[in-house]
Structure formats: structure tokens, C-alpha cells
Symmetry: C2
Subunit: 237 residues, 2 copies
């Protein structure tokens, strides 16, 4: 099978990381096109596409098929590569978890860009401080408690479904990593309350494909351009 072409911003983990992780965990071949050819290549590729085009990266291209939106890409990969459970109820459940991760990711971005996605953080610091306070106090515990109960719902393994990993497990791993980077003091204070979620995180971290990926230069570090950004003034225990 030829390699997928993954198109995403080349300098950040961002939403693209939710695609990279299961590709790496499953050993599926892909080319991270904008990392190979630069951001100009991504902009040119976006500009060229019309009609059934992506609204934004990430998107995955193969043989004329273009799939965009993270949860949609993941459901597609799961179906094509036997990475999903076989029952309808299980597949709906994983997609439900993934879409709830997506909701949290959008809220995370909103913390540092509450009033103007197109302007700099520095121009909305006061609003971001207010957004971060509520996010730390109310939203993080609400989401983490939810994912902890979700993880605990499967007594057979640390995974969300059955006895093997899925894309949604990878996404929970990335969520914990990102929140630890963005809110180290808050996470240190509360993450122990969510042992089932941390068990998913640790099980994903122990997958051979994920270990190899994180040891490689393919795994970009978190930075101040992505979704999860560490602004110390937005963190507190």
C-alpha cells in the first residue's frame, strides 16, 4: 500500500498529532508532507483544492481521496486498517470519546485566544487570564472526570474498548501530555484523581510504536505555536 500523505502545519503538534499518533502506533506508512516540503507546499496544496476541499489542516490524501477533520480521519483509518472494534456500539462509543476530546481541544485553544483567533496572545492576555481561571477550576476537572469514568467503563484492560488500543486511547494520551505541558501546576495538583485516565496514558506511552516515535525527531516538541501552550501566568495549582 502506498504511503498516506498527511498535510498539517510542519512546526507544531497541534491537531495533526491526533493523526500522527495512531499512524505511528500502528506502523502505517505516511509522509508528513509539509515537514518534508515546507509550509509553502501546504499552503499551495490547500489553495489548489476546490470543491470537496478541507476547511483546514490536518487532512489525509491517498489516491485522490481526501479526508479532513480529525475524528473523521481517525474513523476512516480505523476502518481501513482494522484498528476499530467490530461492533457498532463500540465504534460509536470511540467516536463519541474522540469528539469529546475535540471539544476539549477547542476549549484549550480558546483559553489563549478567547476573543480573537486571528490575533496574538499578547493582545488578549487579560481576557486569556480570565478564561484560564475558569478553565482550570471547572473545565479541566469536568473533562478529566468524564474521561476517567470512560476509561473505567472497560474492566478488561486499560484501553477504552476490549483488550487493544484504539485511536481514542491515543487521543487521551495526547490530552494528558498537552495538559501537563500547558498547566503543569494544575495537573500536578489534580491528575492523581483520575487513575483510569492515567492508566490509558501510560499504556499508550508503552506501545512500541509510540516509544519509537517519541524517541525520533518525527515527534515535535510542544511549543508556543500549537494548541497546548505553556504560559506560566495562565497556570496555577
Amino acid at each position: 500500500m502506498p504511503a498516506y500523505h498527511l498535510w498539517y502545519w510542519p512546526t507544531i503538534q497541534g491537531r495533526g498529532e491526533f493523526i500522527r499518533l495512531p499512524l505511528e502506533a500502528a506502523g502505517i506508512r505516511y509522509r508528513d508532507r509539509a515537514r518534508e516540503d515546507g509550509v509553502e507546499a501546504l499552503l499551495a496544496d490547500m489553495d489548489w483544492r476546490q470543491g470537496r476541499a478541507p476547511f483546514a489542516p490536518p487532512y489525509l490524501a491517498l489516491d485522490g481521496l481526501v479526508v479532513a477533520q480529525v475524528a473523521n480521519i481517525l474513523a476512516y483509518l480505523a476502518q481501513m486498517h482494522d484498528l476499530a472494534p467490530t461492533t457498532l456500539a463500540d465504534r460509536l462509543w470511540l467516536q463519541q470519546v474522540q469528539l469529546t476530546v475535540a471539544d476539549l481541544v477547542a476549549e484549550v485553544h480558546n483559553v489563549h485566544h478567547p476573543v480573537a483567533a486571528g490575533e496574538y496572545y499578547e493582545d488578549q492576555k487579560a481576557e486569556a487570564a480570565r478564561a484560564a481561571a475558569q478553565f482550570r477550576a471547572e473545565r479541566i476537572p469536568k473533562f478529566l472526570a468524564y474521561f476517567d469514568v470512560a476509561a473505567a467503563a472497560n474492566p478488561r484492560s486499560p484501553w477504552l474498548v476490549d483488550e487493544r488500543w484504539t485511536y481514542a486511547d491515543c487521543s487521551l494520551f495526547q490530552l494528558v501530555e498537552g495538559l501537563r505541558y500547558m498547566f503543569p501546576r494544575r495537573m500536578a495538583a489534580i491528575e492523581g484523581d483520575y487513575p483510569h485516565l492515567l492508566a490509558v496514558h501510560d499504556a499508550v506511552a508503552a506501545l512500541p510504536g509510540i516509544k519509537a516515535y517519541r524517541a525520533s525527531d518525527r515527534r515535535l516538541p510542544f511549543n508556543q505555536e500549537g494548541i497546548f501552550r505553556h504560559y506560566p501566568e495562565l497556570d496555577a495549582a
Copy 2:
């Protein structure tokens, strides 16, 4: 087939409306449980569910299966009721459009609640004014242009795919309705630039099931508690 149980806040269109519309258009039987039994019944039902539970309404229940997250519910209904196209590429495309609608809906909510989802609009009016200015100037045209190109990609009919309506067409209808309610001056100024999107809107409005629904008391009016809210101070041409 027994009626679905739809659980959603009983006094708003909100995200639940994206489920109600295709149910009504297709004539699928459902009970809008919190409208029948009150918001306390919804809260009690949420409270009772553990494990594979919804994070938030809306969710759909039938025979022990519970499906949450709007796009996930819609894909499920399309599959179960032959409301989706048959090719994988078409199904991925519709879900991609739906998830982009979901992104816009989240941004719309953020306009009137930019810094604290749990607090009142009145306590974040200054921030909302700033968020609305950018949303009107940049985000509305960007999203509407995207959906217009998406609608134009199918030359065979006003619909997004083939020659029949799907849930994503219904969602584009609701988006236009909601934006007209929330930003009447802005929409009057620019909506004519998106004729293919408006053609989808008008085609959905003309479906017999939708006409009957809108003429009934099942269709709640827009109000100041839902996603789309009309605060005149946030609108401008």
C-alpha cells in the same frame, strides 16, 4: 420500530436542533423526552448514566444503545435509516462538512461567552463585543465561503451529495437560520455572496417534513438561551 428517545435541553434549539431536523425531515419517530417530562428528567437521566455515558446533551437512546455527540448521532441515523450515500468517499465528505459545522457552532457560542462558559453574557459583554467584531469580519465570511464552495461541488442538485438531502444539508439550513437570527445586519449585507449555500437552505426549507415541523409547536423559536442569540450590540453590517 419503537421511537427514539432524544434527550436535550427542553427550551432551546441549541445543538439538539441538528438532530431534530433530519428526524423530522425523514419522518423518523422520536420522543423529545425533556420537552415531555421537563428538565429535571433530563438531569436525572444524565445523573443515572455511568460508564459509557454522554458528556453532555444531546444524546439519543434506543434499546440500551446510547449515542452522543451531534455528528456521531447523525452518522448513526444516516446508516440506520438509509439517509446516507452509499460510497465511502461521500460518507466521509458529509461527516467532514458536519464537523466543520460543529466547529462553527462552537465559535458561535464563544462569541457570547468568550471567557467563561459558566458565567452570564452580561458579565463578559466587553470581551464578547471584541470577539463578535472579529467573528463578523473574518470568521463568518470564511466559513460561509467554504460551505458555498462545498455546496457548489455537486452540480447535480442543490444538495451536497447526489440528488437527495442528507443530515449535512439540514445542518447548513440551521446554520443559515441561526446566523440570520444572531447577526441580521451582517447576514443581510453578505449572504447574497453565497448563492449555493442559500440554495441548500431553501431546498431544506421546502422539504415537506421540515415545513410541517416548522409549522408545529415542536420547533422552538430561537431565544437568548441557545447557541445562536441575538444581542443587537454584537451585530453590525
